[in-house]
């Protein structure tokens, strides 16, 4: 007798990513690296970002990471890496904005599957405020790594 909201949270695709996370591990080269923790549960992620292309329109060549956490947060990191790799930074911003907005909706927003693909499966967590942080942590890490990477890129260019 499992509750409906529970099965909407934990789906096969979540566990697929939890078990076999895509693009996991820390790789070179990279321009930015950040380490984020969730102070309440002790979860951690180290995330590296590698950009290529012109400084005014860079492309995400690689997102590599080492994530410690619950199924939701690990699946989130995996899906995010898969979604963002190969995208322009501009397009990635659209994706992450859309995703984070949906996550903040407390279950009201089903998410834009066109834009965020498999990551709609993560939105089950948006009904559980205590879990939103787990899911969002990799995305916050991406944002922080992007700031670092762009700065590094700008410095290299100058």
């Amino acid at each position: 007798m499992t509750s409906a909201s529970l099965t909407s949270l934990y789906t096969d695709i979540i566990f697929e990513h939890d078990k076999r996370p895509l693009h996991a591990g820390l790789r070179e080269p990279f321009e930015g690296e950040v380490h984020h923790v969730n102070p309440t549960c002790g979860d951690e992620i180290t995330l590296r970002l590698h950009l290529t292309g012109p400084v005014d329109d860079p492309v995400i060549e690689d997102v590599s990471y080492d994530a410690q956490g619950c199924a939701m947060s690990r699946a989130s990191a995996s899906m995010m890496a898969d979604l963002l790799r190969g995208q322009s930074v501009e397009r990635a911003a659209e994706i992450s904005d859309s995703f984070e907005l949906s996550m903040a909706s407390r279950g009201k927003d089903a998410g834009d599957e066109e834009l965020i693909g498999d990551a709609v499966a993560l939105l089950g967590a948006s009904k559980f405020p205590g879990r939103v942080k787990c899911v969002v942590m990799p995305w916050k890490a991406y944002r922080a790594a992007l700031v670092e990477s762009l700065a590094a890129l700008g410095a290299a260019e100058a």
């Binding site: 529970l6 410690q68 956490g69 947060s73």
Partner: protein, 425 residues
């Protein structure tokens, strides 16, 4: 497993707690197993506070009118009640704070606030050492890290052993003439381990160190008498012992409090104030700056009445039986590893555990869907978890209203957790 006989009528107790009547999502009854984080309030505590607010509320100590006198009597009466509750020799040994965290910060700051007039034993300075343990709650660790940083003192710690108890092997080299303070918890909020406080306090006294005890997890759950423990200062919180949030206690031996410099400053803690300098009142006033939490003190006194009404030995017996039942039941679940000593005399309280291959958040989520409210994470004891190679655990903790059936629901819930996640293997 049949329910063991309890020393009081748990069903009658449950009727005192209005919140226990509520249901959760999907109409699940509330199984509240998070008393270690914060307890629920019996109607008696709520009523005491409301009665005060609707009849006697006024500023304490500062007014000379009838209302102020009534409020002061209520507040000082609560101080006497709390003193009696923990066996303090005099009411002036009780300082009201907002929570145990403030109580511990008070001591850590005050020990850094002294000047030439402060006795050396109440002044932490460069070269001094502060000794804590690896099992401490952040509230009894970070304030000492900060005191060390501010003063140039050195922080050392007693490590945890593989048996989930303090490893006292090297105590002689850790607790020395250089040690100014030994700060430790009475009972771990994760492991349930009860530390040998009396023995450690004696060793500390022998080297002249002040002993500060974090009694957050002992005072609510067992008879505690400061007269017996041999410590100098002791901290606990109201909200963990059926009392209100927003009130904590620092007990201190009067001779220690009498010479301890102030911490928070402002109204009601002064003797004389000039623009450029002030002198300070005697304890406990010296440590209670500003308008105190009056109605909360009244509520806390009612919580003392409630617990003493049940009998502290009875509370210990009741909750101890639940702990044993939980440990026995959880041990049967495949993959469950309990963090803490097995059944023994120096073990009660919380039952924290790991489920192999599953993050505590995921475990807690499934239990939550069953109405079982447990805590997941590091429980503000991050170094302790790191010591055992974990990021977090799932923790069940019990109170006077917890039933054997609720413990069984937890054990059964864990079986369902395992089954749930097995589907995705």
């Amino acid at each position: 497993m049949t329910a063991s006989p309890t020393p009081f009528d748990v069903e009658a107790v449950r009727r005192d707690f209005p919140i226990l009547g509520r249901t959760l999502a999907d109409g699940r009854p509330l199984v509240y197993l998070d008393a270690g984080a914060t307890s629920q309030r019996p109607q008696q505590v709520i009523d005491a506070e409301v009665a005060f607010l609707t009849s006697g509320n006024a500023a304490v100590k500062r007014g000379a009118h009838q209302m102020a006198e009534a409020a002061t009597d209520a507040y000082e009466g609560a101080r006497e009640r709390v003193a009696a509750f923990i066996g303090a020799r005099r009411a002036e040994e009780i300082v009201f704070t907002k929570n145990a965290t403030e109580s511990l910060n008070l001591v850590a700051y005050a020990l850094g606030n002294g000047d030439a007039s402060t006795p050396d034993r109440l002044r932490v300075r460069e070269g001094d050492e502060i000794l804590v343990t690896e099992m401490e709650h952040h509230a009894n660790l970070v304030p000492w890290q900060e005191l060390a940083r501010r003063t140039g003192a050195t922080l050392r710690w007693i490590p945890l052993g593989d048996d989930f108890r303090l490893d006292l092997t090297d105590l002689d080299s850790l607790l020395t003439e250089r040690t100014k303070v030994l700060a430790l918890s009475h009972q771990s909020n994760v492991l349930g381990t009860v530390n040998p406080v009396r023995e450690l306090a004696e060793r500390a006294r022998a080297v002249g160190a002040l002993v500060v005890l974090d009694a957050c997890q002992s005072v609510p759950h067992m008879p505690v008498s400061v007269a017996d423990l041999g410590v100098d200062l002791l901290a606990f919180s109201g909200h963990k012992m059926l009392g209100p949030t927003g009130i904590g206690v620092l007990w201190g031996r009067y001779d220690v409090l009498a010479e301890l410099p102030p911490f928070l400053t402002g109204g009601s803690m002064i003797e004389e104030v000039f623009m450029d300098r002030s002198t300070y009142a005697e304890p406990p006033a010296r440590f209670e700056a500003g308008t105190p939490m009056v109605s909360q003190a009244v509520g806390l006194a009612a919580a003392c009445d409630y617990l003493d009404g049940l009998g502290r030995e009875n509370v210990l017996a009741h909750e101890g039986a639940l702990t044993r039942r939980a440990i026995a039941g959880l041990a049967e679940i495949p993959g469950v590893r309990i963090l803490g000593p097995a059944l023994s005399d120096d073990r009660a309280g919380a039952v924290a555990f790991d489920l192999a291959g599953r993050h505590p958040h995921d475990v807690g989520q499934v239990l939550d869907s069953l109405g079982i409210q447990v805590r997941v994470g590091h429980h503000c004891a991050w170094p302790l978890h790191r010591r055992y190679g974990l990021h977090g655990t799932t923790r069940a903790s019990f109170s006077v209203h917890t039933t054997a059936a609720e413990v069984d629901a937890l054990v059964d819930g864990m079986a369902q957790v395992v089954a749930f996640f097995d589907r995705f293997r």
